[in-house]
């Protein structure tokens, strides 16, 4: 089962590798991992998308909590939450394809952020499924380059993860 785990961690050198090390050492899967400092510069917020049985997810959260630099861990997917991921995608957009490509970007509420004679670079935000759907909707031959950030997650409403 796919799970989204949010972590508050001390913003210290080595914290990221301690966490990613733990996943690889114990054979857990990381689908995506994002990390950046929060409004409190001493803390980083990490979102890890992983998958596994109930038992595996329970062990993952326990093992994360065990790491000395980890301040808080929450399994966002246990309740209502929002996920967003940013994708930058460079596509073929010559004279012939231009119109269609722009229309497709509009349908997915993407923005063209860079243009050249024969390419568009499109910025697209959404949950992972939406980004997947956009890629699916394009002719594979039209895609030149794809960059995705991985999901960032936050709880809905009053559900808050902070110190």
């Amino acid at each position: 089962m796919r799970r989204v785990i949010s972590i508050l961690v001390e913003n210290e050198a080595g914290a990221l590798s301690r966490i990613s090390n733990m996943f690889s050492a114990r054979g857990y899967n990381i689908e995506s991992l994002t990390v950046a400092p929060t409004e409190d510069a001493s803390l980083s917020r990490m979102t890890i998308v992983t998958s596994g049985s109930e038992d595996v997810i329970e062990q993952i959260t326990k093992q994360l909590n065990k790491l000395v630099e980890v301040v808080k861990v929450v399994d966002l997917s246990e309740a209502e939450h929002i996920e967003r991921e940013l994708m930058l995608i460079k596509v073929r957009a010559g004279i012939k394809e231009r119109e269609d490509m722009k229309r497709m970007a509009d349908i997915f509420r993407g923005r063209v952020i860079d243009v050249s004679d024969n390419t568009y670079t499109i910025e697209l935000t959404g949950d992972c499924r939406k980004l997947d759907a956009f890629i699916q909707a394009l002719d594979p031959g039209a895609i030149i380059e794809t960059v995705r950030t991985g999901a960032s997650g936050i709880g809905r409403g009053n559900r808050v993860l902070r110190v």
Binding site: S17, R18, N21, Q59, Q63, N65, K66, V68, V71
Partner: protein, 574 residues
């Protein structure tokens, strides 16, 4: 200790001052370029004594043995690069068995880090997966606070080794020194008290139990809970087993003790584990060598109560019904209070029937061996060792058959007397660990039970033993095989003894003599006891007893890897 505040000290002085503040008696180490300033400061004082080993692995094992036998933090000092990489086996050993330890490692100067400098390695990266935590100190201003944190982390919660990597220039830089009195870390707050509601649930289950079993592991030793566990088990009248790491946590000679459980556990302990209806696991982690196949273990329904300081040990391999996260002595105190207040409703008849069932399992006499053998049986040597030392020795061991025989046949009545590498299974552990044990317990009897293969993995420490006059008694069960490897090859690999035979063994007697010790060869059963008596009477001398034992002897019972714990091979079945 006089606390001098506000003085200007260099990094090396700070390291040594911090060790003094922590009351460190011994530092086990080996000098080298990156730690020369620290060694210079050690030279100028006499509060912290340095023990010079012959290889960094020995330093870490010695600090480990020191800690296990004394409940103090073991401390090591090694240089950068190969100093650290040599120490890694020892650090991983301590990590697997949750031993509180602080390792201070030298590092190349900060400006050289990342330049592939001479004797540089990524120490923090290499050790990260085998420490509780580690630090690289880049600013001398952080040094004292970091060392304070290291000692705090090593000892609190689930203990473990903590490494502090100190670049050489940091040891030369000067700053105002102040040792912090306390540590507080928002990201690290280990619990002590168990959850009251869970403890009530546990008490209820314990009272209803018809076939109870207490399964206690190394956590009992580490948390100094042995007296409380003994009180608890005796109050309830329940059977008790210890893991390899837990031996001595409950008196080995007590009637309620069923012996060690697991792969080489007793028949009665494994049967009682499997057939219990309420299992109380205390400071143990249901590992593969203990319960074998978890699916087989789950075939018999039972309620499991699990007490452990580490939440990640709970429901890792076996689902439990009542998890209690907390410090074992605190939790046992709370449980004892509840059970004492209301102990009247337990089913005494059921418990009696359960003990009768256990008696039939005990009657299998699963540890029997050929006592009339003309070749020395290794089990016989351990039995005699137990008799000669009155059961009061500190016994360290290496890894393999001799380790299992020592665990089975030496009855440990006290905690911290049985010192072995349980989790990592590190050959070479026994001798250096015995050095640490002997230094922590200067007048105690210390025996190192080993084999001719294991002893050769850290043999160089015989030289350290000479330098510090450590009168360890080495009992080398010499069967000219890597015995446990050979046993597996016999059982599971069609008697193909691939590379498990040791040709060209040294003359251990001459070898011991070469290092300035006494060596004795024993090859007749009748000589075992007198030789042991004579060796242990030599209070100020290391004696190396090279005991020529039966090459074909195997450790029984044995649960083959991946099988259920009741699927034992017994000696009588062969």
């Amino acid at each position: 200790m006089d606390r001098i505040k506000g003085v200007e000290l260099n990094g090396a002085e700070i390291v040594v001052r911090c060790l003094q503040e922590e009351g460190v008696e011994y530092v086990f180490g080996y000098p080298g370029g990156a730690v020369l300033y620290i060694y210079d400061e050690l030279f100028k004082q006499d509060k912290v004594r340095h023990v010079l080993v012959r290889h960094e692995q020995g330093a870490v094992h010695a600090a480990d043995g020191y800690s296990r036998s004394s409940h103090k933090v073991g401390v090591c000092l090694v240089t950068s690069g190969p100093g650290v990489t040599n120490a890694v086996t020892g650090i991983a050993t301590a990590y697997m068995d949750s031993i509180p330890m602080v390792i201070i490692s030298g590092q190349v100067p900060t400006h050289a880090i990342g330049q592939d400098a001479f004797q540089e390695c990524d120490t923090v990266g290499i050790t990260r997966p085998c420490v509780k935590h580690n630090f690289l100190v880049k600013d001398v201003k952080d040094l004292a606070a970091t060392i304070k944190k290291a000692f705090y982390l090593a000892q609190s919660g689930r203990p473990g080794p903590v490494l502090v990597d100190v670049p050489k220039d940091v040891t030369a830089m000067v700053t105002e020194y102040q040792y912090p009195e306390t540590v507080s870390m928002r990201s690290y707050n280990p619990v002590r008290k168990g959850h009251a509601g869970q403890i009530k649930k546990a008490a209820r289950l314990i009272k209803q139990a018809k076939r109870p079993m207490v399964y206690a592991g190394g956590g009992v030793i580490l948390s100094n809970a042995a007296p409380r566990l003994t009180e608890f088990v005796r109050l309830l009248g329940f059977p008790c087993t210890n893991t390899l790491m837990g031996l001595g946590g409950y008196p080995g000679t007590d009637r309620q003790f069923l012996g060690m459980l697991g792969m080489h556990g007793t028949y009665e302990a494994n049967m009682a584990m499997q057939h219990s209806d309420v299992l109380l696991a205390i400071g143990a982690r249901f590992d593969d060598r203990v319960i074998g196949d978890p699916a087989h273990f789950a075939q018999n329904p039972r309620k499991i109560i699990h007490v452990d300081i580490d939440p990640s040990s709970i429901s890792k391999r076996v689902r439990v019904d009542v998890p209690i996260v907390g410090n074992i002595p605190d939790v046992l105190d709370d449980l004892l209070t509840l059970l004492r207040a209301d102990a009247g409703e337990r089913d005494a008849a059921a418990l009696e029937a359960w003990w009768q069932q256990i008696a039939t399992w005990r009657a299998r006499n699963c540890l029997k061996y050929d006592r009339a053998s003309k070749i020395i049986k290794p089990q016989f040597v351990i039995e005699k060792l137990y008799e000669v030392t009155g059961g009061n020795a500190f016994v360290t061991s290496d890894v393999g058959q001799h380790q299992m025989w020592a665990a089975q046949f030496y009855k440990f009545d006290q905690p911290r007397r049985w010192i072995n590498s349980g989790g990592l299974g590190t050959m070479g552990f026994g001798l250096p660990a015995a050095m640490g044990v002997q230094l922590a317990n200067r007048d105690a009897t210390v025996a190192c039970v080993t084999g001719e293969s294991s002893i050769q993995m850290c043999l160089q420490e015989l030289s350290t033993c000479k330098q510090y006059r450590l009168p360890i008694k080495i009992v080398n069960l010499n069967n000219r095989y890597m015995g446990m490897v050979r046993q597996w090859q016999q059982f599971f690999h069609g008697n193909r003894y691939s590379e498990s035979y040791m040709d060209a063994l040294p003359d251990f007697v001459k070898l011991a003599e070469g290092y300035g010790h006494r060596g004795v060869l024993i090859d007749q059963p009748a000589d075992v006891e007198p030789a042991l008596r004579e060796a242990f009477a030599r209070k100020d001398e290391l004696v190396f007893l090279d005991v020529i034992t039966d090459q074909a002897e195997n450790v029984y019972p044995m649960v083959p890897g991946g099988k259920g714990i009741t699927e034992m091979i017994l000696s009588e079945e062969l």
